[in-house]
């Protein structure tokens, strides 16, 4: 008697009713090939279990236990400056100054804001952080589908936000790489979030963002804002042609 693959599988998984099970067992007694098919299924299950069962013996990380028991449980640490939270007031100058100042000693925003050469990439105006210089140019002009090699800014995803604005993710490479998300306001690109990405090896002369995943904070902001799917190459070109106006 011939048994289908699904029947043999269901037998190995203990899913057959008594009559079918008896039929398979009777056939196995005289059909070594059938017995082998069953053994194969069982061996695979054993191998998967042997590989993954040790996870059961690991003590769960403290953050998970805290999450279950109700204590505050921060996600994996992210090196993030949240520029704006939903329903939160815009950063005022003093706040922004404090952020910049607190990071001057590091490699994050100090050089970008305070060194302020012609190409300064970020400015603050009316309590908002806006793209400027090289970053503003790239956000306005550069297509994700056609990025100059070694350009200081790499454009990521372009999309329409729920409020209709066009927004784009980017990676800006100064001494260290910053990733962020900016949305086009009436006159300028407004930064929604900015985060430091893991340092790139100095040897990476032709910088490629591959391997440096989008920081979680930027990804979350993208997920919060996006309406529908990201723009494809044609959508991106069309939006640029319209000056990124909604």
């Amino acid at each position: 008697m011939n048994f289908s693959d699904e029947t043999v599988m269901a037998y190995a998984d203990g899913e057959l009713d008594a009559a079918s099970r008896a039929a398979v067992e009777a056939a196995m007694a005289t059909d070594p090939q059938l017995a082998q098919r069953v053994a194969r299924h069982r061996a695979l299950r054993e191998r998967l279990r042997a590989a993954l069962d040790p996870v059961l013996d690991e003590p769960p990380p403290e953050r998970l236990l805290e999450g279950v028991r109700g204590a505050p449980a921060p996600r994996r640490a992210a090196n993030v400056v949240a520029l704006k939270r939903k329903a939160a007031p815009r950063w005022s100058w003093p706040q922004w100054g404090a952020i910049a100042a607190s990071l001057v000693g590091g490699v994050l925003l100090g050089p970008l804001l305070l060194r302020a050469p012609a190409g300064a990439a970020l400015v603050t105006r009316d309590g908002q952080v806006l793209a400027s210089g090289v970053l503003a140019r790239a956000l306005t002009e550069q297509l994700a589908s056609d990025q100059p090699r070694g350009a200081p800014v790499q454009i990521g995803v372009s999309f329409r936000a729920r409020n209709g604005d066009y927004c784009r993710t980017f990676v800006l490479r100064e001494q260290s790489a910053l990733a962020g998300l900016a949305c086009r306001g009436r006159e300028a690109w407004r930064l929604e979030v900015l985060a430091q990405t893991p340092a790139q090896p100095a040897a990476a002369a032709d910088y490629r963002p591959a391997g440096s995943a989008l920081p979680a904070s930027v990804a979350r902001t993208l997920d919060e804002l996006i309406a529908g799917e990201p723009l494809d190459a044609a959508g991106e070109t069309g939006a640029r042609a319209r000056g990124w106006k909604p």
């Binding site: 699904e6 599988m9 899913e15 993954l52 059961l56 999450g67 279950v68």
Partner: protein
């Protein structure tokens, strides 16, 4: 131990009326949730993030938990949905960023059980998502076809065909050492 009266009152309404009980059950369930998430996500940090998200969702949605349904099935479903959300988000991100292929993984595949875990996880990672979920629920978590189909919100026939295809692909990737005709 509770007094009899408390049990009587809770019977038939909601055996997990107390949030504290739900939390304790979740703590007990954490090892299995972590194993399931590891089968889905491979990376240990991603997997634990998934479990954490699932626990948060479960605690905010505990009203949706049917008292007669096993907590484990409900939680596996939440973990899986969190994983699908994550995959969709990654799909958008990878338009710019290459997937996080961990190059060091190849180098550190040392001998023994750890190497086998990596081989199995790599093979699982190469399965289409719906086959991977079917394999993880039935072969690793030991659920019945019916339970797995319920969690994946598909008919049993769909579940069994995904399971069969997933198995076949794993056999091929993991080689005949799995055939085990010893």
């Amino acid at each position: 131990m509770e007094e009899n009266g408390t049990h009587e009152r809770n019977a038939g309404i909601d055996v997990r009326a107390s949030p504290a009980e739900l939390r304790e059950e979740l703590v007990m369930l954490l090892p299995r949730l972590r194993r399931f998430a590891r089968a889905l996500a491979r990376d240990v940090h991603d997997a634990d993030d998934l479990v954490q998200i699932a626990v948060e969702r479960a605690l905010t949605r505990s009203a949706q938990l049917r008292p007669d349904a096993p907590l484990s099935s409900w939680m596996f479903g939440i973990v899986r949905n969190a994983w699908l959300d994550e995959l969709r988000a990654r799909g958008r991100r990878t338009r710019l960023f290459a997937p996080e292929e961990s190059a060091e993984r190849i180098g550190d595949a040392s001998q023994g059980a750890h190497a086998d875990l990596l081989a199995v996880q790599d093979a699982l990672a190469r399965l289409p998502e719906e086959q991977r979920a079917a394999v993880a629920l039935v072969l690793i978590e030991g659920l019945s076809y019916k339970e797995a189909a319920h969690i994946m919100e598909v008919p049993i026939g769909t579940l069994t065909s995904r399971l069969a295809r997933g198995r076949e692909a794993l056999q091929e990737m993991l080689g005949e050492s799995t055939g085990a005709l010893r």
